[in-house]
């Protein structure tokens, strides 16, 4: 296992190099996940950068990212593996037409096995173990969680016809959840846990600077302040980090140099997503702006 993964500071530096800023907590969590080989469950409000963390980790570790998007009704055939039935049937017909006999063992071979993300992660053969992102596990149901237990505990998958595949090196598993459903205790027990908090103003500004390099410093500062104040209003859906990045990209693409009322109203759809919220923000524009100019 790479020696750099054991030091949270070094992990933080590598993530910084791929333009994803981490704080001490997330750096420790990623470092523990890499060295102990345990899966990491990331929770946080939507738009705070959980999926982006896994992507950045794969880039920082110079390995592949294998992604599995969860939804209700996800089955083993979509997550683990599938047999290529059409090809098997063709092989049978071909053998019949040649008057050959085909045994079971010939039909269930590697040739007919279709790998899905989890089996791919187990059989990955690159220089570094891959990063497996199981995204939005709270959208899947209990049956799918039960499917994951063998894999999360032992990093092995059993294909009845072929045998058990065990990973040569344990893949780094990152699970993300939006807390729309209570995850089973048995799943939580097998994972490390980290809650990603929405960062404070200074950190938001540095993240925005990295994500949108074309924006001016003044624009970044005023945008950070504005988003911070909008978040303090009583909104149905408060803007997250992803929305702030989108808004800054929109403003900088439109060539806005300084944040004024017309620019805000034109691009409000990037941070405010419901009509009630839009009304609230437009109604409080005076205070949001007045303070911003005074600062």
């Amino acid at each position: 296992m790479s020696s750099w993964a054991a030091d949270p500071v070094e992990v933080g530096r590598r993530m910084d190099r791929v333009d994803y800023l981490v704080d001490e907590g997330l750096a420790t969590a990623l470092s523990l996940a890499l060295t102990l080989g345990l899966p990491l469950l990331l929770e946080g409000e939507p738009g705070v950068g959980k999926t982006a963390a896994a992507r950045a980790l794969a880039r920082a570790a110079e390995t592949e990212l294998i992604r599995l998007q969860c939804y209700e009704g996800l089955t083993a055939s979509e997550a683990l593996y599938e047999w290529n039935y059409q090809r098997q049937l063709l092989a049978i017909r071909l053998a019949e037409s040649r008057h050959e006999t085909l045994a079971d063992a010939d039909l269930f071979t590697e040739e007919f096995l279709q790998e899905r993300p989890i089996l791919r992660a187990v059989r990955f053969s690159g220089p570094e173990p891959p990063v497996l992102l199981i995204d939005e596990i709270d959208r899947a149901d209990d049956e799918f969680e039960a499917l994951l237990f063998e894999f999360l505990g032992e990093a092995s998958i059993t294909v009845p016809e072929l045998g058990t595949f065990a990973a040569a090196r344990r893949p780094t598993v990152i699970l993300t959840s939006n807390r729309s459903r209570e995850l089973h205790d048995a799943l939580r027990r097998r994972c490390l846990y980290h809650w990603i908090e929405f960062p404070d103003g200074g950190r938001v500004a540095s993240i925005l600077r990295r994500s949108v390099p074309s924006a001016t410093d003044a624009l970044i500062a005023s945008t950070t302040q504005f988003v911070g104040r909008v978040r303090r209003l009583d909104l149905d859906k408060a803007p997250g980090l992803a929305e702030a990045i989108d808004w800054l990209s929109a403003l900088s693409m439109l060539g806005v140099g300084e944040l004024d009322r017309t620019a805000v109203v034109r691009t409000l759809g990037a941070i405010v997503k419901t009509p009630d919220d839009r009304r609230t923000v437009l109604g409080s524009l005076d205070e949001l702006e007045g303070r911003s100019h005074g600062a």
């Binding site: 420790t28 523990l32 060295t35 098997q88 846990y193 303090r232 009583d234 909104l235």
Partner: protein, 394 residues
């Protein structure tokens, strides 16, 4: 840091302290903590905090208790051990999370005449009228949004009433409205053939699929979300509604919330095996009971909280008498959002049981267009009837 310390003993002792504070720490967490200390030895108190938190704390609701225990244990360290204190938002987060509430050491205060609907109401703190020294007060008829000190515990749960509601609920759940999920299961009358079992069966017949195995989407019963008003005006009916909340909370896949001026999630608390412990924990958790009412604010808080997604496609029961301190327009917009998100909204109003009741008053009239049904519910029997009515309408 931590040189010459037996890591196993230290981790076990720390985990014991956490468990005493109500944080559920399993043996795998402790093992991961010890391995983490070995592989990434922490240099400062801050890094020790993070290693401990990532391995030992398993859910968001435990983080506050974890911070407290860590500060107690390492309080002589100069490093600030609560890095999130500065980053916490200025306004309190919407909706209280369901932290494990500790069981109070003594039993609740003795109240004379328990269970009688006409007992003297306790004096509320901060009302406009000057204090009446005799202690007897006319029940306040106007809705207020003031918080009050609640010395009055919730009623004791009557086992007979509870059993009655349980029976009703069990019978109703057999015919509960269902939703079609995306998971497929084998069924003889399904529309979609399943390839894998069909071919496995075809092995018997020389790989000719003579018999198709069909699948159908699984129907799951819809979730129940119950929002119960526990303000002063609802105090008489608190007993009956508490029975229903307990029955609903012990059913699978239900969420129960109580609100007056604040919203409290009671699902985990009321699902406790023993009804008496459940009521004690609920008494400790709902600190704003029998105070003023803010329906619109709390409905919005529910929708904005992490549990707001649980209302999606669910059957929402709102138990309130409609006396709201917030303006009716706010209630209308909040109920509109709730109606769009939920499958069905049923409003249970104890005042509707009175003859000649018409929902013409402000808040009730504003919320009425967004409710699928407004039903009278003032006693345990009528609550059972409500549940049966929902099942029948499936």
């Amino acid at each position: 840091m931590l040189r010459a310390v037996d890591r196993a003993a230290f981790a076990t002792a720390f985990a014991l302290r956490l468990r005493r504070a109500g944080v559920a720490v399993g043996l795998t967490g402790v093992e991961a903590f010890v391995r983490g200390l070995a592989e990434c030895p922490p240099e400062t108190a801050g890094s020790l905090y993070w290693v401990a938190r990532v391995t030992l704390a398993q859910r968001h609701g435990d983080l506050a208790a974890f911070d407290r225990v860590f500060a107690e244990v390492f309080s002589d360290a100069a490093v600030p051990v609560d890095p999130h204190a500065r980053r916490r938002p200025a306004t309190p987060p919407a909706g209280r999370d369901d932290a494990h509430a500790r069981v109070p050491s003594g039993s609740g205060p003795d109240e004379p005449g328990q269970g009688l609907p006409w007992r003297t109401l306790p004096p509320t703190v901060g009302t406009e009228e000057t204090g009446d020294p005799s202690g007897l007060r006319v029940p306040e008829r106007l809705p207020s949004d003031l918080e009050a000190l609640a010395d009055v515990p919730f009623e004791q749960l009557d086992p007979a009433g509870l059993a009655l509601l349980d029976d009703w609920l069990a019978a109703a759940l057999r015919r509960w409205p269902t939703r079609r999920s995306r998971r497929m299961a084998r069924h003889h009358s399904g529309q979609r053939p399943a390839l894998r079992p069909t071919l496995e069966r075809a092995r018997r017949t020389g790989y000719e699929p003579l018999e198709l195995v069909r699948t159908r989407p699984v129907d799951r019963p819809r979730r129940v979300v119950m929002l119960c008003d526990v303000s002063q005006s609802m105090q008489h009916h608190a007993a009956a509604y508490f029975h229903l909340m307990r029955a609903v909370a012990t059913t699978a896949d239900a969420e129960v919330f109580a609100f007056a001026t604040r919203l409290t999630r009671l699902t985990a608390i009321l699902a406790h095996r023993s009804p008496d412990v459940a009521i004690e924990l609920a008494t400790a958790a709902v600190t704003d009971r029998f105070s003023g009412t803010r329906i619109a604010t709390n409905v919005r808080r529910l929708l904005a909280s992490p549990h707001g997604d649980k209302c999606r496609g669910a059957i929402v029961l709102v138990a309130s008498d409609g006396w709201d301190a917030d303006p009716p327009e706010q209630l209308a917009s909040a109920m509109a959002r709730l109606r769009r998100r939920a499958y069905r909204v049923v409003w249970m109003n104890p005042r509707a049981a009175a003859p000649g009741f018409q929902p013409l008053v402000g808040a009730m009239a504003a919320a009425l267009p967004y409710c699928d049904a407004l039903v009278p519910a003032d006693s345990i029997r009528s609550l059972g009837a409500v549940v049966s009515a929902i099942a029948r309408s499936a």
